[in-house]
Point group: C2
């Protein structure tokens, strides 16, 4: 059995070899909490071994974020260091690889005025739009991975001691990211190949609509004519493969921004802006949220939906079987990277250009004409459950099972 | 007696109230090692309490620096993220306050090729020239303070356990920065007033030359006609006082770049580029180093002197009594912030524009014509000792004692 140190080193290897898949001569930008210094150093070593020219680190600290939200004057949340936003965009345009570790405390900002959080999110979304659009279009390689912190671990395992909770969370992260496999890099090759087969089947089918039925959910989702399903490894502008998320279990495409109708009920808490939104329902008409409710975090949900016009529409449709490694833990992770890979989900906001044939070359107007949504935000929320059935409607109107009782019903 | 936590909070207060002296509405930029997160959070709280608009942190990590020097390709050391350099310069031009904590491991880079270190230092000096010139001209408020790390502490106290060494170093830092005073902020007011009296005396005297005599040292240093002595608190472009160094015991001015003659011997190790240069002698003729030797670190010294033409000339002359709080610890700190405040010293390289009457308004050519040195570097080295005598030669040729047996001999 591997020690924690050995597993952490394998995790760093996955970040470099599978996640960002660092190439000779690349600059690598690591974003991480200051507490993750040990892991970041391992990543730097692996990145230089893979031929990186330089490893830069953008550190962050949640406690400083909380202090700022509590104490800074309101005008601070309307400002963003543009030199940093431009620097990141330049790096993305010049073939840098991005590795981000995150493990937010789900309750970090629960006592903070939501007005401050939504203002800050909007400010940073505007400032970082150029940089993020590079990543969303898969021009640069990037990967998002988890870093276990005591606060996050204790939220998932409230009855454990802090040490036991942290150990337990790391073990779930290692298991979900295949660190425990004999050869984790090889295990990811096989997993990516499996996801690619499902993607290929769905792209051949080219359904014009998906029909969702579950407790609290009854929804139709039209897909653009030129929609593309994706899953697992992607390719950057230089055709180098990378995995934007570790773990990842989803296959996903984009809906028509004007073609969503009915009601959908969330099945897991959504951690947005450091606060939890729970038990919420969205009613759609012609693509737009026209009504909504929430058991908890209503104000934050309202602010999310009010960010801009596109925040009330869907930008992503993702399918994840209820029988999946993360889902089978029966845990709520309060962390989208994990919860979205345990559950079918949608995203409010910006659609990925890569989910539309030719989308990465389109200007916003053309992108929209083909049915794609645009917004400053892209926020995933979970809707999958054990009782969910999904049907696909083919171009000539035939209705076929895609999911039955929460799991794949395709002949692949 | 205060606990460590109480002292650390007072230290944070000093950084904000005395060091940078944060004003209402200012952006505060903190530079710190990731290990200093606890202190940085305290500083953020104190800064917001003082009215700061925003606190930004530029984190660093020595171990990542070491990994880069060991593993990155040579071309990495010729590159600098210009967006960051420009961002820092913009912040300095727009009245940000800068608080830097540092506590380098003196032996960090001892196994690293000096070529890499000097290349990286030169690259960053060129990139950061605009930013640093703002700080050197005192347009923005800034302060440099120590942060104790286990590696640094064990270098000073090699016979102590790691924990005892760290405790002992923190206690020396607290003592030297007057954290242990009943009212540290008030204690700094008094100390600044004392330094101001000495500065005032020397500025009235307007010596044309200083004559240094000690074991291994026999040197004359001409001072520019318009030289200004400074010490303790300075004033930024908006006339707000700040203390660039905590601790500080020195009063200092600039020499004529063409008026240094004789030999000077270093009396403490110099930590430059992560390596130690020890027991070195410099021979000057008409301002320029024409010969040099070193018991240890000769190669690094050579690279420092070869940075550019100005690196072979002096840019600062500083007087510190041998009987001073830091000197009396009888410790070698292997850290310029402490060792320079325990010992009279010089700096090789760039002169401070503030040490010349009207200097901050001068272009480089005029600055030079008045006798000031320019260089990419500014590196202090210690030359004070218990047997050092210094005389001042007045404009009309009278020779007066300034230091006797290492201590002040002025009638103030």
């Amino acid at each position: 059995m591997s020690t924690f140190a050995q597993k952490l080193e394998k995790y760093a290897t996955l970040a470099v070899r599978v996640g960002a898949n660092v190439q000779q001569g690349q600059t690598v930008v690591v974003t991480a909490p200051v507490a993750a210094a040990e892991l970041v150093r391992l990543v730097a070593v692996k990145a230089y071994e893979a031929g990186a020219k330089n490893v830069m680190v953008e550190w962050n600290d949640e406690e400083l974020t909380r202090i700022k939200y509590k104490m800074a004057p309101m005008e601070a949340f309307h400002e963003f260091p543009m030199w940093k936003a431009q620097g990141l965009q330049e790096l993305a345009e010049n073939d840098a690889a991005f590795i981000q570790f995150y493990g937010p405390n789900p309750d970090l900002l629960k006592d903070v005025d939501p007005e401050r959080v939504s203002t800050a999110n909007k400010t940073s979304s505007i400032a970082l739009k150029g940089y993020r659009s590079q990543l969303m279009a898969h021009r640069a390689s990037w990967t998002l991975m988890a870093y276990a912190t005591p606060e996050w671990a204790s939220k998932i395992f409230p009855d454990f001691s802090p040490e036991a909770a942290l150990d337990a969370l790391w073990e779930r992260i290692f298991e979900a990211t295949r660190v425990n496999a004999d050869d984790p890099v090889e295990a990811w090759k096989e997993h990516n190949a499996r996801l690619a087969r499902t993607v290929s089947y769905l792209n051949d089918k080219r359904y014009k609509q998906l029909v969702y039925e579950a407790s609290g959910t009854s929804l139709t989702v039209d897909l653009p004519e030129k929609h593309l399903w994706l899953g697992g490894a992607k390719e950057n502008a230089k055709d180098a493969p990378f995995n934007p998320n570790l773990p990842t279990e989803e296959v996903f495409t984009m809906p028509r921004h004007d073609g969503v109708n009915g009601v959908v009920r969330s099945t897991k808490p959504l951690n947005y802006g450091g606060q939890l939104i729970e038990g919420f329902c969205l009613t759609f008409k012609d693509g737009k949220v026209v009504d909504f409710s929430a058991d908890k975090g209503y104000e934050m949900l309202k602010r999310l939906l009010d960010t801009d016009e596109g925040a009330r529409k869907l930008g992503e449709v993702a399918l994840v079987p209820h029988e999946s490694p993360i889902s089978n833990t029966n845990l709520i992770f309060y962390n989208t990277l994990f919860d979205e890979n345990a559950s079918s989900h949608f995203a409010l906001g910006q659609a990925y250009p890569v989910n539309l044939d030719g989308g990465t070359e389109m200007k916003e107007e053309e992108f929209s004409r083909h049915g794609a949504n645009s917004s400053l935000v892209h926020v995933d929320f979970m809707i999958g459950s054990a009782d969910m059935n999904i049907d696909g409607i083919t171009q000539d109107g035939v209705r076929e099972p895609v999911f039955r009782s929460g799991n794949w019903a395709l002949p692949v």
